[in-house]
């Protein structure tokens, strides 16, 4: 089957900055694909190249088998792009904006009318449709943007950070929407620097860091590859350090415990990496009881995508985020995004 999106060895540099060094991934029709990475990793540049807003220095981009580089118009027809920042004309009403969008995609008048009503219905926008977009709240603006992206039935809907800056409720609306869209058969590509978002939504994920894809697969595959389970253990709500040390030494002697760290930021709780096995919690509990140590709380979890990121880069996503934030040149980025 022709992949919905094929990106091969994509490269893009802005001046001396290599925004995208080498990015390749492939999206199958009908799946939600997540591009996860800290800010400044090259996600947006990749999307802009895919949506023909920027010409890559090298690489191959295909949408449903059509090259975005040699046949951009046909590629644009098959894509819906929802940018990170919603750019609406404040003076137009929602319906007028959709009409403009329909004309730009050359929908015939009758079809346009029908499609506009359909997307307004789907996104619950009818009551706002004839109000100026300048009066909309952030969530409504985003919904209108999603509606505009869908007008022409794109093969692939591309969303750059679809929930950044949205309140929790609006975020769930977007999630719900994307899931429904997938079940209707549309391919969806989202970027995000929210782990939970990608974990909850994406069928497959590419983790991207400093312009390179560092891991790729289903979230489960990626987490399995990192291996082991995570156990968080609290001896007391706030354990004294010597007690935590005792427990650490004790637990490290257990055969299935691979790593143990004392997390002083959380009342000296213990973070363990253990081989995935079913009775880990029971064995740990028994060991603690035998050593007359109390247990305030204990929880087992699968590794998160953050652990995947940590394993691949040696830093957490949050750290990367902070490091990226301090080294960013916002002015230069703004310029890149301006056409």
């Amino acid at each position: 089957m022709t992949p919905a999106v094929l990106i091969q060895n994509l490269q893009k540099r802005y001046g001396t900055v290599e925004a995208v060094k080498d990015v390749s991934f492939q999206i199958e029709p009908g799946e939600i694909f997540g591009l996860l990475g800290p800010n400044g990793a090259g996600k947006t540049t990749t999307l802009r190249a895919l949506c023909t807003l920027t010409t890559p220095d090298a690489g191959k981009i295909e949408i449903s088998g059509i090259s975005a580089l040699t046949n951009p118009k046909a590629a644009r027809q098959r894509l819906g792009y929802v940018a990170q920042e919603v750019a609406l004309d404040k003076v137009l009403t929602g319906r007028e904006l959709l009409r403009l969008g329909a004309a730009l995609y050359h929908l015939p008048g009758k079809v346009a009318k029908q499609r506009i009503e359909m997307v307004l219905d789907l996104l619950g926008l009818q009551e706002y449709a004839d109000k100026k977009t300048g009066t909309y709240s952030g969530g409504i603006r985003k919904r209108l943007d999603l509606a505009a992206g869908l007008l022409h039935s794109p093969d692939v809907l591309v969303l750059d950070e679809p929930t950044v800056g949205l309140d929790i409720e609006s975020r769930f609306v977007v999630w719900d929407f994307l899931r429904k869209l997938r079940s209707a058969g549309t391919t969806v590509l989202i970027t995000s620097h929210y782990l939970e978002e990608v974990d909850a939504l994406a069928d497959r994920v590419a983790i991207i860091d400093r312009g390179l894809v560092i891991a790729q697969g289903t979230p489960t595959e990626l987490k399995d590859k990192v291996g082991g389970d995570r156990i968080t253990l609290r001896i007391r709500e706030f354990s004294p350090i010597d007690e935590a040390e005792t427990a650490k030494t004790l637990l490290q002697s257990l055969p299935f415990v691979q790593e143990a760290i004392i997390n002083s930021a959380q009342g000296n709780s213990l973070n363990l990496v253990v081989k995935a096995q079913t009775d880990a919690l029971i064995v740990i509990q028994q060991a603690l009881v035998q050593a007359s140590l109390p247990i305030f709380g204990i929880a087992q979890s699968r590794p998160s995508l953050d652990d995947v990121y940590l394993a691949a880069t040696g830093k957490t996503l949050m750290d990367a985020e902070l490091a990226a934030a301090s080294s960013r040149d916002l002015k230069a980025e703004r310029k890149q995004n301006m056409k």
Binding site: C51, T52, L53, T55, K73, A74, R76, Q77, R78, L79, Y81, A83, E85, A87, D89, V91, L92, E96, R99, L100, G101, A103, L104, Y105, H106, L107, P108, V111, M118, V119, D121, L122, L123, G124, K132, S137, G139, I140, R143, A148, L150, H152, S153, D155, E169, S170, F172, V173, D176, F177, K180, L181, S183, A184, G185, T186, K335, N337, M338, K339
Partner: protein, 297 residues
Amino acid sequence: MSSTITPSKPDNWQQIAAPRVYATANPNFWGELVQETLALTQRLFIQLQRRPSTLIAGLIQPVMWLVLFGALFQNVPQGFFGNSHSYGQFLGAGVIVFTAFAGALNSGLPVMFDREFGFLNRLLVAPLASRFSIVLASAIFIISQSLLQAAVIVAGSAFLGAGLPNATGLATIALIVFLLALGVTAISLGLAFALPGHIELIAVIFVTNLPLLFASTALVPLSFMPQWLQVVASLNPLSYAIEPIRYLYLHNDWDLNSLVMAAPWGNVTFGAALLVLFGFATVALLSIQPLLKRGLA
């Protein structure tokens, strides 16, 4: 906002995902170009209708020019400004041209704001037949606005006693306004894609606007100026728009061979002035092609 989306009919979801139903295999280039250009132009007119303040100001300002500036030189002896009966009559042509010029010079600003707010990206990800429809829409909008302003000034001048040219004369004024606005709009749109932001564009507009007015024959005839300024004014496209209009205001019997301006290097006929304007518009349109290609590629 409500926490769930309630679709009216569940099968809408299937329809929304129906792949590529509307992507025509054999697109009709001209049909698509007309459709997208009309839609983009309509957007500008809706904006104007909901925010008419710039248009209203653009209509009041030239009338103020006529009334106030006209009064300033009211007591000048008759015949001082060539054949004009009054300075007001002399000034009318200058105000028509200057108003069209100033409006066209600002035409890049909305495009610049679209760039800055990311709205332009929305247009650029769409499968436009040609991205020049974006430029075309701005030009259509600005030129319509200039023609409307010119009509108001012509009516205002008539009311103030400058007389009213005949139908051919009015059509010629429209043609001149069209050519000048087209050229200046092209330059302004080119700048909107070449300059980094609206601050820079406003700066350019600021330094071009009034100097070009003063270095033209809008306010005084060429013969009033020192030699060097005559040279500058005779290079200024505004003069080539002003002088023919002024001539047809003052003469009932004009044709393409009428002498409208005595430039330092020779006399300029009505027809030659029109040719200069035509050349100006053509050169402006051609010279911005690389800028637009870069901005819209």
